[in-house]
């Protein structure tokens, strides 16, 4: 057979580029959508946060955030609520995940339905349910007084307590899922090895099992904390206006004062903190391994 010259590198490169482009074109609609409805708005808000009413560049909105005590209170409330919610979720979610991880698969899947149920139930429906349960003449107060547990209706809602209960209810699945996933992945042989080396069951848990489940716990807790920071509906309804978190403050700034600069600046800070936390957490643990575990 005769030898053939191969000057076709150029054509092959073009084919490769065309294929790459057609695959990229598949992503294009989604990319455009996200650019128009997320990147552009957020960038615009970022820009607005540096403008005063007259349209001149200013750091005023950020300065106010440091100087005005009302902003400081908003940040403190946001932080407190987020920390408390995360802590309560860990306190209840970790044991639940631990319990589920030791059940046989079938039983664990049934429990999983219990965990996923609120996940799938409308946020507003659940918020409404809590309102019904917790209000002054709500179920819990009625029953509590009928049973003689307390005499006067206690304030369970339109305050921090109500907000926390509602938020924990929403956030628990986000904690349980990754923790459960990481616990299932722990090989029982580690515990057998620990027992073989002389560890008591309690020691084996603290020294072996707990450390191995930490990545899932960290991923879940980070996710819970970050989602808490941006909460709006629950504090607005169950907090009854008394628990003002950053998101509520942003909405108020827009709805009542039309103060786009101040609202934008708050939004920028909220987003920046979120990104910072995500970045920090991703240094410690592979978040993507645990996210999407709910699907």
């Amino acid at each position: 057979m005769t030898d053939i010259a191969a000057p076709n590198a150029e054509g092959l490169r073009r084919d490769a580029a065309a294929e790459r482009f057609s695959l990229f074109a598949l992503c294009l609609p989604a990319v455009l959508l996200v650019l128009v409805t997320m990147v552009a708005p957020v960038a615009w808000l970022f820009y607005l946060s540096f403008l005063d009413d007259a349209g001149a560049t200013t750091l005023e909105h950020y300065r106010r955030m440091v100087e005005q005590p009302s902003y400081f209170r908003t940040f403190r409330t946001t932080f407190e609520v987020s920390v408390l919610t995360t802590a309560i979720c860990v306190a209840f979610g970790y044991p639940l995940a631990y319990f589920m991880a030791q059940l046989p698969r079938r039983a664990a899947n049934i429990c999983m339905i219990a965990v996923m149920l609120p996940f799938w139930t409308s946020l507003l429906v659940r918020t409404y349910a809590w309102l019904v349960l917790l209000q002054r003449r709500g179920l819990i107060n009625t029953w509590g007084m009928e049973l003689g547990l307390w005499d006067q209706p206690i304030a369970l809602v339109h305050n921090l307590t109500g907000t926390l209960i509602g938020m924990v209810h929403i956030m628990l699945p986000f904690l349980v899922l990754p923790v459960y996933g990481s616990m299932r992945a722990i090989d029982r042989d580690y515990l057998r090895a620990a027992a073989n080396l002389g560890a008591s069951p309690t020691q084996a848990f603290w020294r072996v099992f707990l450390p191995l489940s930490v990545p899932g716990l960290l991923a879940g807790a980070t996710m819970v904390f970050i989602l808490c920071l941006g909460f709006y509906v629950t504090p607005a309804v169950l907090g009854g206006g008394k628990v003002s978190m950053v998101a509520n403050r942003i909405a108020t700034d827009i709805e009542m004062f039309f103060n786009w600069g101040a609202a934008s600046a708050l939004g920028v800070v909220l987003f920046a903190v979120t990104l910072l936390l995500l970045w920090g957490a991703s240094k410690l643990v592979r978040l993507d391994k645990f996210l999407g575990g709910g699907a």
Binding site: L33, A114, S122, Y128, A129, Q135, W260
Partner: protein, 271 residues
């Protein structure tokens, strides 16, 4: 009790010593499940005040809901927005997930990151930002505006679910299909899609629910004739406790459960 004094497993303490764990897990699951369900019996109460168990049963609040033009309009808007969001987000999300999965360029990481960011951006920021941009584009209070914003919120879910399905799917099948004479699109529709259909249906259901349940963006960009159900529910939750909401909530729970069952059935013979 022999069960109590037996260790939970060969490397664990006895059941008796960790009864507290079972109690805690039980209480937590009770906490997770029961509150959502309690609105169901309450929606059938005759009373203006929410009582449990209701003293008298009636369909009063359902009549109230179905008789109200405002509620009906809002419901129609929510359904329209939900279905359109489902179609849009699922289509472009599946396309993007496939595109990202099939190409391995240095851009794909960046694009994937971009498509997933809506998960971590605080929704309130999206809400006011979209409102600001829409005001300039004349999209405020329009169905298309709601659908676009809701689709953006749903796209990351679709991309995540479908990407993980594509990862566990045997890519050789698509190669085989192509070697046997199928063009790339044909191979996708004949071989790949049927096998990731469970994930596609799941993402479609999730997209619908994302839109149907969404409150914050709807609060800012839906209004007037195009108010969504959630927007109206939220408004009436802030004002007073109207038992009509219990009826609506019950219907929403029924709808959600139905969708879940459908998506489960659809994916039965999946793998």
């Amino acid at each position: 009790m022999t069960w109590l004094s037996a260790p939970a497993s060969e490397t664990q303490i006895t059941h008796a010593r960790r009864l507290w764990l079972y109690a805690l897990a039980g209480v937590t699951m009770f906490f997770l499940v029961v509150p959502s369900l309690i609105v169901i019996p309450m929606s059938f109460s005759e009373s203006q005040y929410l009582e449990f168990p209701p003293r008298e049963w009636s369909l009063r609040w359902y009549r109230n809901y179905f008789g109200s033009v405002a509620w009906m309009d809002a419901t129609a808007t929510s359904f329209k927005a939900g279905v359109l969001t489902m179609l849009l987000a699922t289509t472009i999300g599946v396309a993007a997930a496939y595109g990202l999965h099939a190409s391995r360029t240095r851009w794909s990481g960046l694009i994937q990151g971009l498509l997933l960011t809506p998960i971590v951006v605080p929704v309130i920021l999206v809400g006011i930002g979209v409102f600001y941009v829409y005001a300039r584009l004349g999209l405020v209070n329009t169905l298309i505006g709601i659908v676009m914003a809701h689709s953006m919120l749903a796209v990351p879910l679709v991309v995540m679910i479908v990407t993980s399905a594509l990862k566990s799917y045997d890519a050789n099948q698509e190669l085989v299909a192509r070697s046997l004479g199928a063009s790339r699109p044909k191979a996708f529709f004949l071989v790949t899609l049927p096998q990731i259909r469970f994930s596609v249906v799941t993402s479609a259901v999730l997209s619908f629910l994302t839109s149907f349940d969404e409150v914050i963006v709807a609060l800012f960009v839906s209004g007037g004739a195009n108010s969504t159900l959630t927007r109206n529910m939220f408004a009436s939750l802030r004002d007073q406790i109207d038992p009509t909401i219990a009826a609506i909530s019950t219907l929403v729970i029924v709808l959600t459960s139905a969708l879940l069952v459908i998506s489960q059935l659809f994916g039965r013979d999946g793998r």
